[in-house]
Every structure is written in structure tokens, then in C-alpha cells.
Amino acid sequence: MALASVKETALAARLACLPMQDGAGWLAVARTQALARLTAMGLPAKRDEYWRYTDPATLNAPEAAPAARFDPGDEAPAFDGIDRLKIVFVDGVFDAGASDDLAMAGVEIERLSRAGSVDIHWAQGLYGVLEARGQSPVQRPFAALNTAYATDGLLIRVTGQAARPIALIYVHKSETSDAILHHCIKVEAGAELTLLESGPAAARFTKVVEVEVADGGRFHHIRVQGRDHERRAATHLFARLGADALFKSFTLTANGRLTRNEAVIELTGRDARAHVAGAAVGDGDFHHDDTVFVTHAAEACESRQVFKKVLKNGATGVFQGKILVKPGAQKTDGYQISQSLLLDEDSQFLAKPELEIYADDVKCSHGSTSGAIDETALFYLQSRGVPRAAAQALLVLAFLAEAIDEVEDEAIAEDIRGRLEGWLARHAAKAQA
């Protein structure tokens, strides 16, 4: 079968299982347009260049493969000690009872389903808009699918300094849940928000977050992806930044059968800064893909991509990262690093770092490495009395440090480190058993 028809067939099968989202208003229009985009591209195939390292089959499948829930035991939930506004989704459905009141100084929060049916809404300029822009030069079918079929989500407008971080907590309950969430966040000029996300969400999770940060706005995003071993996720973060805007996103991933995290960021105003970082730890049947596309479309902007993966027992890490510097984006400062620490010979890291530069006065660097743990350093620590497993954990945390350092809030960074230490201790013990 020709590639095009394979994709069409896959799409038809997938769409047959999706409930059509009814409704009128601006949202219905946006959904129709997204469906048209999706129909034109079809679902991804393994032969697509952009899916060379990650097999989309289980994301394409009409139904989510069952995923057992993970029992975290007595481990504290992510961000437990942080004062935050909690918003809970269970298998992708907003849970009012478990959530805080959606009211906070400096922020307006609405549910997508409510806001979608009105005639005019600020989110019209955002919902599906950044996603559509992000479809070129590379297609992102799951993002278009999300825009067309999202069943829930939030529209968040930040008008000042948000009083507290907003925490989106994604609970996974049903073993076959297939959640599609779409959030839009607009950080108005000079406003600031910290968004926390945690939890597995569902057996299969498709998510889009579109973020517009206006001039001088600041957006911090810290995400801890759920630990359910069998869960699968395709997430997209689309961001557009105005002058002097700041965007910082950090993701911690531990476990999960398949994770594809795409980040598509456009710097459109002078002196904007965008940092995307990730720390991933995988043991066993774990496939983790970070696919990042940063476009410098204005002068004197800074971007950083810092991705670190620790892999063992046959885990696979993927990084596809691009910095595109458009004509005229002089004084660009672009940095990209992707590194993996392979704790055994069964694990692998596949990286495709790319630079595409159409301006002459820019500073761009990229590097990608893959290596084993430093045995000499391990012995040095052991010779000082540090047990091997603890020494290894210390070296792994040191390896991940550059990514974790992207988390500005020290309390949150400490929460992340503690979580990683726990994971490393548990997984070191397992390896010895």
C-alpha cells in the first residue's frame, strides 16, 4: 500500500472511534478547521522522517492499549509541599469535587466546554492557532487531532502576577482510558504564571497546551509525567513569545511505556527567552522521545534546550531538536544539548540535533553525547565509603543537574531531586535482586 493510503486508513480507523465534539460557536469552527488539517496529513507512519525513531503504532491505534495504574505506595504526590491552586482531571475529565475553586487573583480560568459555545472569546486567537502554525515545516498530526477532538481542557488568561502556581493533576483511573485534553494559556503583557502538571492522566494521553506570552510576560512550566509503567502519551507544547517575554519549561519523566513530548516555540519579539529542559529516567521497556523545534524570528533572543536521559535495561531515548534562525534574527543566542547516560549496553539513545541558520551574526551551539557511568568516579566515591548504589545515584543526579537547574524555584527543584533519588534507590535495588 502506498504511504498516503496507509495514513488515510489509519486515520479513518482512529476517527471512527472518536466521539464527534458537538457544539456551535467559535470552538466548533476551530475544530472543523483542525479536522481538515488532519485529514490532509493523515496519521504518522513509521516511514515518516519525523517518526523514524519512535513507532507511532500505539498512538495511531483506534483504542488505547490497557495500562495498569501505578501504586506509588507512601510516596508523596508531586509538588505536595507547594502552595498551589489544584485542578484535577480524572481520565481526562475535569473533576470539580476534587479541584479547588477556579478563582485566583491575577488569573481567569474557564473550562473549554463552557467557553467554546459563545460567539466571541479571547481564546479564539489561540485555540488551534499556534498548533496550526506549528504544522509547518513539520507535520504534527496528533496535535491537529487533539484540536479537533479534545474532550476537555482549560482556558487560562493571566492578567497580573498569579497569586499561586496552578497545578493540573491528571489522575488515571480506568485501565483503558484514552484522554484528549487541550489547554490554552494567555499570559498578558507583564503578567506571570507558574503552571505545574503531574500525573499519568490515562492509559493513553494526547495533550496540547498552547501558550502565548505577551511582551514582558513570564511563564514557568514544571511537569512531572506519571509513572504508570504501561501508559502512553503524546504531548505538545506550542508557545509564542513577545518581546522580553520569558518561557521556561521543565519536564521530569520516570517510567511510561511510550512518551513523545513535542515542544514548538516561536520567539517573535526582541529579547525574548525560551528554555525547554527535560530529565528522563527509564528502566526496561521505556521509550522516551523529546522533539523540539525552536524558531528565532526576532533579534537578540535566547533559547536553551537541555535534555538528559538516564537509561537502563533496554530503555530507549530519543531527541530530535532543532534551532531555526530566520533571516533578520541577528544576535540570536541558541544553545542545545542532549545527553544520555546509558547504564548498560542494552539501552540506546538516538539523537538528531539540527541547526538551520539564515542570519550571520548569531551564536548557536549544539552538542549531543551518549556515555556510560564514569567507573573511576564511582570507585573514588566507594573508596570514601559511599556504597555503590548511592555513589551511582549521586553521579546520575550530577549528570541530570544541568536540566534540573532550569527549574528556578528552589523548593520545586528540591522536590524533583528528591523524587529522582527515590526512583534511583528503588531501581538500583531492583537491579540487584
Partner: protein, 251 residues
């Protein structure tokens, strides 16, 4: 304290024999020195004693207070009281020197069933000991040995030794790369630790260090064996005549 008997060691990966029957006995409170030409196996001896991978013991034993060292993991040897000041201290990017020291001290305390030091107590002790070695706050904050000069690395080794208070200290060419002032600092640091219950094995190329750290016994090592043992005067003999005479004498 430390007793090495008929120790034979080869490389794990190749058929190269490095130690060919080493015998050595160090009593409590004694300071022994091992001198010898490059490549004679001094560092190998110190690595094998502390448990580094890559070597295979084909014969012999090494005990610390009667406990067989060669069966233990490196961290168990450390907890038992063995310490090696490395000839080439290892850089660990991303791990702060202070974190490293605290982790080591507390790991050993835990292994011995003692309570961990509180952050405050630990800080107090480190500052005091670091000061004596002219190690400033900046050096304590930096990643372990990263960007340290040769002399700074060696002083950092002695700081670790002072913090861990081992009973059997092995110093592998701690004097190499040190200027006169640094040599004095390091020797003072070592001498401050000398006590009845603590023994030292000082590996050095030059007699110089032994002017500061006075040994009770001096051994000469060549081609994987201890070929001569004597008092401090043996070191002076090496200083004046080099190793050639002794090597010739032994055959």
C-alpha cells in the same frame, strides 16, 4: 594493623603480572614508606588494597586487624578504616565538594552504626579542618577536584582523610606536583593525624617528603616486589645514589 602476605596480582584483562609476592606488616601507630622506580607497582598495590576493579589477585592475602580486605567491597574497606589518598585524584563534575564530603562521612558513620552528623556539626568540623589546609569556602563549593590545581587536589585528599579519620592511611605520591609551601601544608596535615592507633603507608618517589613525615620503616619496591627494607637512612641512600645501587645489590 595492616598485614600483606605473598600478594600476587595480575591485570584482569591481560596476562601481565604486576605484583609478584609482596610481604608487608605495619603495626599500630607506625609510619612506613615505600619508594621505588616508576612502574614498580606501588600504585597497583594501593589500588588492590582499596579494591579497584581491573586487577586479579592470584595469590596471597591482605588483612586489616585480621579482617581479610581482599574479599570486601571498596566501601566496606573504607568503613573498616582504610583510606587511600590517590596519586591522581578524580574529578567529579556536578558533585559539590561539600556534598561529596558529607555523603562520605555519613555513609561511613552509617556503616559503623553511628548517627549521621547534623548539617551544622558537619559544617563546623569541615571549616576548621579546611582552614588548616588553606582550603577556602570557594573550593568547598566547587565540584570535586574540577578545575583544582595539582596542589589543591592533593590538599583536598588530605582534607578527606582528616574528615574520615581512617586508621590505615595510604598516601600515593601525595608529594608529587607540590611546591615547598604546599608540601609543608600537606605534611603538617598528615602529622596532625599521627597517633598511636593510626598507621600510614607513604608511597613516594623522593626522600623530600620523608623529611617532613618521618617514617619508622622504609621499603624499596622494584618490579612488583619489596626488595629491601630498612630504617629512615635507606631513604637517604636512595636520595644520594638513586635506585641503581640497590637494584644492583639485590641483583
Amino acid at each position: 594493623m595492616l598485614e600483606i602476605k605473598n600478594l600476587h596480582v595480575k591485570l584482569e584483562e591481560e596476562d601481565k603480572v604486576i605484583l609478584k609476592g609482596v610481604d608487608l606488616k605495619i603495626g599500630p601507630g607506625e609510619v612506613h614508606a615505600i619508594m621505588g622506580p616508576n612502574g614498580s607497582g606501588k600504585s597497583t598495590l594501593s589500588y588492590v588494597l582499596s579494591g579497584r576493579d581491573g586487577y586479579e589477585v592470584t595469590d596471597g592475602s591482605a588483612t586489616l586487624d585480621g579482617q581479610e580486605l581482599l574479599e570486601m567491597e571498596p566501601e566496606e574497606r573504607a568503613a573498616a578504616g582504610l583510606f587511600l589518598a590517590f596519586q591522581y585524584p578524580v574529578e567529579i563534575p556536578g558533585v559539590g565538594n561539600m556534598t561529596f564530603l558529607r555523603t562520605a562521612v555519613n555513609a561511613q558513620r552509617k556503616a559503623r552504626g553511628e548517627e549521621e552528623l547534623s548539617a551544622g556539626d558537619f559544617l563546623k568540623v569541615v571549616r576548621e579542618k579546611a582552614k588548616a589546609l588553606k582550603i577556602d569556602a570557594e573550593m568547598l563549593k566547587r565540584p570535586v577536584n574540577v578545575g583544582f590545581s595539582g596542589g589543591e587536589k592533593k590538599r583536598n585528599e588530605i582534607l578527606q582523610m582528616a574528615m574520615l579519620e581512617p586508621r590505615m592511611c595510604i598516601l600515593d605520591e601525595t608529594d608529587s606536583g607540590l611546591d615547598v609551601d604546599a608540601m609543608k601544608l600537606v605534611s603538617d596535615g598528615v602529622n596532625a593525624l599521627r597517633s598511636e592507633g593510626r598507621s600510614f603507608l607513604v608511597i613516594t618517589h623522593y626522600q623530600r617528603l620523608l623529611d617532613h613525615i618521618k617514617p619508622d620503616v622504609v621499603h624499596i619496591m622494584a618490579a612488583g616486589r619489596i626488595i629491601k627494607t630498612g630504617g629512615p637512612e635507606l631513604a637517604l641512600e636512595v636520595e644520594t645514589n638513586g635506585y641503581a645501587d640497590i637494584l644492583g645489590e639485590v641483583g
